[in-house]
Symmetry: C2
Subunit: 223 residues, 2 copies
DNA sequence: TCGTATCGAAACTAACCCGTTTCGCAAAAG
DNA sequence: CTTTTGCGAAACGGGTTAGTTTCGATACGA
């Protein structure tokens, strides 16, 4: 799993000019920009190389093709880590949710939207996306909920995974279907009318018998 | 707004062979099938015409291009109307939600997924999609909630629009990001752990003052 | 019967993109 | 200096697509 780009392991004699590391970054950055502007399907290597002021050969010397380049570029586009600690669950959630939904980072939003056209077809891209955007989010959400539980602010939440998927899902849905980017008002509405009410003990699922499948719903199979 | 395809208004003398109306349907159906299989971006007029057993000229005589054909085809793909009346809110919601999320209509699901790659770029397509998939859903959800309120089963729900967007958003999110199609277990989990708990009076939003924007959240600006 | 418009099929132009290759130059190592 | 590799730029061959046009056959009206 730690396998990186194939690099000559042995430090054999390496004659010739060294690779310019700045070209890697320029190409990755250009890839992200083109991705944000035209989307994955319409992204071309020519466009990326041209924007980076590089030749296509330079690009193909580093990545096998479009998919590898984009996955690498997106994979390194790490967001600034967050560990909100406002003292209240709501405060933490507001900070967290606005952060993870890129309310003030339109570039990340555009990259995300641009990736969509590729996600449907490319399982590799889907995996990279999930690992980059979904996994870290889930971990931080869990920490925030756990802290609120420790404080005694809320009762234990068995389905924090489900809860932490609500906002991203609805923001994503709105972005794709209406073109409207994430905005704080929308996010706060979801937090105050959905997420926070669900943390109150009286709203906890009463594990009602399921007349459709015949068994009781207990665990969630969220993404 | 009622303007249809440009058709000779005057019933002038029309010599020559009449257009075969069956070709329209064949092309629209073929377009939907190709759309479901390869997605909007990779859909080509050649493929559609070939599948319909028609010539490209026949297609271009009817629609100006890919966008017009797909919008028309999708726009006519009406789902069977539903008016669930099981006597309980949960029963109605289960029927409704499974129906609108195409749990047993994989073709509609595939069309929906295929459209995604085009939605990001094409506002026209986005509008058609919203009108076809979102608007009818919203209306039926409203009716179901209203009926439950009349029965006295739940207290008035001010935010049924928001509630009716939760399941589709999460199903959509999961479909795009993990490739997993809608399944009843996932939908029932959302219903029982999110939607239904939120209809209980104690879970209603207490209209908390909003420290972020400074005003109170009252209305939702959902899609 | 004659003119016209449709049909499916195929050819065609023009554009685009991918991945490779070539070219002239720059840099690093021997 | 020579060799080897990286660099930007450009060109190339092969493939795909859009949209148009042509062709022979067919259907409809006058």
């Amino acid at each position: 799993m730690t396998s990186q780009v194939v690099q000559a392991e042995e430090t054999v004699h390496t004659p010739g000019r060294k690779r310019d590391a700045s070209r890697d970054d320029a190409l990755r950055q250009a890839a992200l920009e083109v991705l944000a502007e035209v989307g994955y399907d319409r992204l071309t290597i020519d466009a990326v190389a041209a924007r980076a002021g590089a030749g296509k050969a330079t690009c193909y010397r580093r990545w096998a093709g479009k998919a590898e380049l984009v996955v690498d570029a997106v994979g390194r586009m790490k967001a600034a880590p967050v560990q909100p600690n406002t003292g209240t669950l709501r405060g933490d959630l507001v900070e967290l949710t606005c952060h993870f939904n890129d309310v003030d980072d339109t570039f990340r939003t555009d990259v995300q939207a641009g990736l969509v056209s590729g996600l449907v077809h490319d399982a590799k891209l889907r995996a990279a996306f999930a690992e980059l955007f979904i996994a870290p989010r889930k971990a931080v959400y869990r920490a925030v909920f756990d802290r609120a539980i420790e404080r005694g602010e809320i009762a234990p939440v068995p389905n924090y995974e489900l809860l932490s998927d609500i906002v991203p899902s609805m923001v994503f849905h709105r972005l794709i279907l209406t073109g409207r980017p994430p905005d704080p008002a929308f996010i706060l509405t979801i937090l105050d009318q959905i997420i926070l009410p669900l943390t109150k003990p009286c709203a906890q699922s009463e594990a009602a018998p399921n007349p459709h499948t015949g068994h009781t719903q207990t665990r969630t199979t969220s993404s």
